[in-house]
Amino acid sequence: MAHTIKIRARISGGVTTVKTLISHPMETGQRKNKKTGKLIPAHYIQEVTCLHNGKTVLDAYWGPAVSKNPYMSFRFKGAKKGDKVTLKWVDNKGQSDSIETQIR
């Protein structure tokens, strides 16, 4: 599960914009395998947390209705250039990944 997250954090006018792209199948559990006719088991991210210098700025709960390879963008105040932003996700199978970046 290496490098599943791409993240950009850029500050402009005191507001930091974070953009992330996670590679994940986001399988709903409602789709059938066309060859076998069996349901493909659900596999989706349930929680995404973003920290700025160790403080939570965003805590997201996702269901299977979030698109495959999820994209997310949000903004927060109170940061400066060079600050650390950490993003982590956990899915319904207990897999997880995290990444740390600096605000540019």
Partner: protein, 157 residues
Amino acid sequence: MTNMKRRTFLKGSLAVGALGVAIGTGLVTPRVVLAAWPKDAFKATTVNDALKSLLGSSALMGSSKVKLKAPDIAENGAVVPVSVTASIDGVDSITILAEKNLNPLAASFKLGPGTEPYISTRIKMGKTSSVIAVVKAGGKLYSTGKQVKVTIGGCGG
């Protein structure tokens, strides 16, 4: 020197032992992060049930202060870009639902104190339906909806 190492080793194994016991007895759950995931809300089959379960109420106030950006027609229901902005102070959370999905709740975002009321993401939609953005601020729920026409569903095969 060898004796010193032996001391550290012993201490280390003792600590690990204690942690092992804690996990075994359920004092420390390895998946603490997931404990909060609102399963009932995500399994709910109507917008009302999902909101009640997630936010404690389904009394929505339509508000022009909540702006929802979504396409009029989504060619591919598997990828519908949605963004929500609110011009309300003290927003606690932003929730996105697709009314006619099997489980309407798509995603909910809890905002920190310095986080602006803005979220942009992409969701799946099974068929043509309203997308609803619910913004919770000061214990009240403000919402805006928009009809999105889906030409190819994104939830089936």
